[in-house]
């Protein structure tokens, strides 16, 4: 039996999942190396403003995660990419972008997700029309406390397009990204908080409010903020001569096509398997599912396990997840690592 004590574990990815996993491993006595390919840790969370369901400032999460990895047993290495993993007896060797070969007793892959590149839905005009922005762009505007059109005007009519890059055979993403509905609700309310007299519309196919307090938030958005929900998938966006955006959509509940002019359109970009994760899957023979995320060894009892002994998964590299779920999933990954150490 190998005790967790002084076991070496490499965590790949320094977002919420990786940071939480590293922190929990360190507390359990493991020696942890956390590899992050960007120059700073924090992943996507650092680009967010307020989080659903309770409008918590995302900086609080960043601070929490920073505390988690502030531990003597953890070495955080930024600007390093894990190129491939290979088994060597019971060890796992991580080949890095710097040409190193790091030995470890176990690896947690926490490579997260990439936001869908909205340009790929050309018909929505992202990158073509200045006032078509993505949900991530809007978060940055919230962070800067300035929601402005490209011409500097404050938008009065703002639309949100759900399911951009998700549930869409045209971009080969059949799955639902799970978080964008509630993100749209949250952002719609946030827009109203910033611009009191704005009219805000959400164009949705289904309101997927499955998480804790999501439905309540949806109701609050109608009741207190007057957000208007229109059931129909936007098929195209065009721009008129004064750079207002015209959306084409069928109001499927009224059963008639609807035309609307907007000052700003926000695309709710979905989540995709990250490029880094994809590279690792290819170079290291890790299985991916139809949705291209890492396929867990078992959908009930092994969502943190890969099919390779000693390699585990944490967070949104296995499926779209919110921060709460990501942190729980990372903790569960550590429990699996501990179990693995007890049994080898």
């Amino acid at each position: 039996m190998l005790k967790a004590d002084k076991r070496e574990v490499v965590v790949i990815g320094g977002g919420a999942a990786g940071m939480e996993a590293a922190g929990q491993l360190a507390k359990a006595g493991c020696i942890v190396t956390l590899l992050e390919r960007e120059s700073v840790t924090g992943g996507h969370v650092k680009n967010w403003y307020h989080l659903f369901p309770d409008s918590r400032n995302s900086d609080e999460v960043i601070e929490y995660l920073a505390r988690q990895v502030n531990h003597d047993n953890i070495t955080v290495r930024t600007g390093v990419t894990a190129g491939s993993l290979e088994k060597n007896g019971k060890s796992i060797i991580i080949n890095t972008s710097r040409g190193e070969r790091i030995r470890s007793d176990a690896v947690i892959v926490a490579t997260g997700f990439d936001l869908f590149e909205s340009r790929r839905k050309e018909e929505y005009g992202y990158g073509i029309y200045d006032n078509v922005i993505s949900s991530a762009d809007l978060e940055m505007m919230f962070r800067k406390d300035s929601i402005k059109r490209h011409d500097g005007e404050t938008p009065r009519r703002i639309g949100f397009v759900h399911c951009v890059g998700s549930r869409d055979a045209k971009v080969n993403n059949l799955y639902c990204s799970k978080l964008c509905c509630v993100t749209a609700v949250k952002q719609a309310m946030e827009v109203k908080k910033h611009i009191g007299n704005a009219s805000v519309y959400c164009f949705y196919m289904d309101m997927r409010m499955g998480g804790a307090l999501y439905e309540e938030l949806y109701k609050e958005s109608q009741e207190k903020y007057g957000i208007i929900y229109i059931r129909g998938k936007v098929s195209e966006v065009s721009e008129n001569i004064d750079t207002r955006l015209i959306v084409k959509v069928e109001d499927t509940l009224a059963g008639r096509p609807l035309r609307m002019e907007l000052d700003m359109l926000v695309l709710m970009a979905g989540m995709e398997m990250s490029e880094g994760g994809m590279g690792l899957a290819e170079s290291s023979g890790l299985k991916t599912g139809e949705n291209r995320f890492f396929a867990p060894a078992d959908h009930h009892f092994g969502t943190n396990k890969s099919t390779v002994a000693g390699i585990f998964y944490a967070g949104a590299c296995t499926a779209p997840m919110n921060i709460t779920e990501t942190i729980s999933h990372a903790r569960a990954a550590v429990a699996d690592v501990m179990d693995y150490f007890r049994n080898i």
Binding site: C163, R167, A169, D206, K233, S235, E236, T252, G255, P257
Partner: protein
């Protein structure tokens, strides 16, 4: 007794059990993608015809599935088969073929072939 204007109204329900779903079945057998529509309305939003006259491919598809065939029979020829709807459908429904098959099914049903 005064006349309160009460009268027996025509049935408003979709009489699902009694309705004839054979047209929908005819289409689904030959074009299975007919089954996977999620009623998003993208096809109708983009449809050239639907922007000028009453014609919603989304609506016609659901009506066929419920066996409300008469409206569809009246309207299905309004489509000009331009194929724009196929380009936008997020489920990859072969909408154009659905329309062609619906027309074929109606033709055959007149000729008592289905």
């Amino acid at each position: 007794m005064g006349d309160f204007g009460f009268t027996v109204l025509k049935e408003r329900h979709i009489n699902y059990d009694a309705n004839d779903k054979s047209i929908a079945e005819y289409i689904a057998e030959r074009e299975p993608s007919f089954r996977i529509c999620i009623e998003c309305g993208c096809c109708s939003a983009t449809c050239t015809t639907g922007n000028f006259i009453r014609f919603s491919l989304r609506e016609l598809q659901i009506l066929l599935k419920r066996g409300e065939n008469e409206i569809v029979r009246e309207q299905i020829d309004r489509c000009m088969l331009c194929g724009k709807c196929i380009l936008v459908c997020p489920r990859g429904v072969n909408t154009r073929n659905v329309i062609l098959l619906a027309r074929e099914a109606f033709r055959k049903s007149v000729e008592n072939e289905i």
